[in-house]
């Protein structure tokens, strides 16, 4: 399940960032994905729809979630935690 979430989040981020999935490594900072503000919001929307979760991301407080400032690996961990919390 966890590997599956990681692969799917990676695929979504890669699609939104117009990158190959192999380029979206776990240690890549989100800011290096090259997503603009709308691209980031679209990626989060796709992840929410895929997993049936709500990511508490506010564009005015991006640092409050992993999507703002952290790495791809930390984003994946946050999605995994949200999926677990969803039950």
């Amino acid at each position: 399940m966890t590997a599956d979430i990681a692969a799917q989040v990676t695929a979504i981020l890669a699609r939104e960032a117009l990158l190959d999935a192999t380029e979206v490594r776990a240690d890549l900072p989100a800011s290096d994905l090259g997503l603009d503000s709308l691209g980031l919001v679209e990626a989060i929307f796709a992840i929410e729809e895929r997993f049936g979760i709500t990511v508490p991301f506010n564009a005015n407080r991006p640092e409050a979630t992993a999507f703002g400032t952290a790495t791809v690996g930390e984003i994946i961990a946050e999605v995994e935690a949200l999926v677990r919390a969803r039950g």
Partner: protein, 396 residues
């Protein structure tokens, strides 16, 4: 060149349904932001807004008329009635027109119609769905009531709609295209679908509007309208009209950069343009009514633009913490703060601002109204899509 004055004002907004009481609320620093009581509110991630409460349509419109009026048009029409009544004008002069800015038009009507056919499986929508939801409904309906046969249309430029409407009305009178105009903005998007749309963009604050504050975390949606009567100055003076202010200049432009991120350079160009159009030097301006949405991006860019335009400093406030973001009506309702400042009633404080962000270093009016001699002011409105519209007003 003809000069243009404001001789009437009217409003329905979250603070109040009268101009005098709205100004009193703005000066007192009241806020109308509250927990929303909407069907399905538990499915929204953001549960606050600034609704117009205690607005009873049946008190203002007979049933047959009401069937044709979306909530936004109701707000606009009621505001126009107040504006004309307060102007003392008994009939609009021949050739007068109406321009109303709106971002969402008959949003509530569209939402109800779609809910009926998509969600509820009904086979038909209300027969007046089209005339209710069309963007020009507020302008047309006002024109019908007051017999305005001149230039009449809607302007839609998101959150700058009202400033564009008032600015175009000003230009029409100045150029001689019309002797008088009713102009302003109206919006009523504070619905489940409207909130969902804004929620999706992730710029709404979950807990309050704090323009220019270090802790600001987004905008808060409101609804309402304000409409003004603009007249050619000589005609207005000849009839002994109550002159509230002179519209001295207007400038509009586009960033041509980004659909949602604002540009400080674009805002600065619009402010400088309005000053030049009005023949004002920066030092003559005593107040800038900021767009001040409480989003991280707007407030930082706007502060940078104001600093660049006014190197000598200028008093600044935003009133969105008092009544929320009225979208296409924002610039119209907020213009009341300019009228108050020019008429010596004080500069409205920035409700919600407690800890100014060093990123937004400005002479911000906060906590209490400021007493100041203001002989000229600017009113900013900046919209998604990179559209900027700035009005310059002078004391009458």
């Amino acid at each position: 060149m003809r000069r243009v004055v404001i001789t009437g004002a009217g409003t329905v907004n979250p603070l109040s349904q009268s101009v005098a009481d709205t100004i009193a609320g703005l000066i007192a620093g009241r806020t109308a932001i509250r927990t929303l009581d909407l069907p399905d509110a538990d499915r929204l991630t953001v549960g606050i807004g600034a609704p117009v409460t205690d607005f009873d349509p049946a008190r203002h419109f007979p049933p047959r008329d009401l069937a044709l009026l979306d909530r936004a048009t109701q707000f606009a029409l009621q505001s126009a009635r107040q504006a004309v009544a307060s102007s003392g004008l008994t009939a609009m002069p021949p050739g007068a027109g109406v321009i109303v800015g709106t971002a969402g038009g008959g949003h509530e009507t569209a939402e109800a119609a779609y809910r009926a056919v998509f969600a509820e499986g009904r086979e038909r929508v209300h027969p007046f769905t089209v005339p209710r939801l069309m963007m020009n409904a507020p302008a047309s309906r006002i024109g019908i009531e007051f017999g305005c046969k001149g230039p009449t249309f809607a302007v839609s430029s998101a959150c700058a709609s009202a400033n564009h409407a008032i600015g175009l009305a000003f230009q029409m009178i100045r150029s001689g295209a019309a002797p008088a105009m009713l102009a302003g903005g109206a919006d009523a998007m504070l619905t489940f679908g409207g909130l969902k749309a804004w929620e999706g963009l992730r710029v709404l604050s979950p807990d309050g509007c704090r323009p220019f504050d270090r802790m600001r975390n987004g905008l808060v949606m409101g609804e309402g309208a304000a409409i003004y009567l603009l007249e050619e100055r000589e005609a207005a003076l000849a009839r002994g009209a109550p002159v509230l202010a002179e519209v001295a200049g207007f400038s509009m432009g586009a960033d041509a950069e980004d659909m949602v991120l604002p540009s400080a350079a674009g805002a600065e160009r619009a402010m400088r343009g309005a000053l030049a159009d009005a023949g004002l030097a920066p030092g003559e301006v005593g107040y800038v009514k900021a767009h001040g949405t409480g989003t991280r991006a707007n407030d930082r860019a706007e502060a940078e633009a104001i600093r660049a335009t006014f190197p000598g400093g200028v008093a600044v406030s935003s009133t969105k913490g008092a009544h929320g973001h009225l979208m296409g009506a924002a610039g119209a309702v907020e213009l009341l703060a300019c009228l108050a400042a020019l008429r010596g009633e004080g500069i409205a404080p920035t409700v919600g601002l407690a800890d100014p962000d060093p990123d937004c270093a400005l002479d911000l009016v906060q906590r209490a109204p400021r007493t100041a001699e203001v002989s000229a002011c600017l009113a900013n409105a900046f919209a998604f899509g990179g559209l900027n519209a700035v009005l310059a007003l002078r004391r009458a």
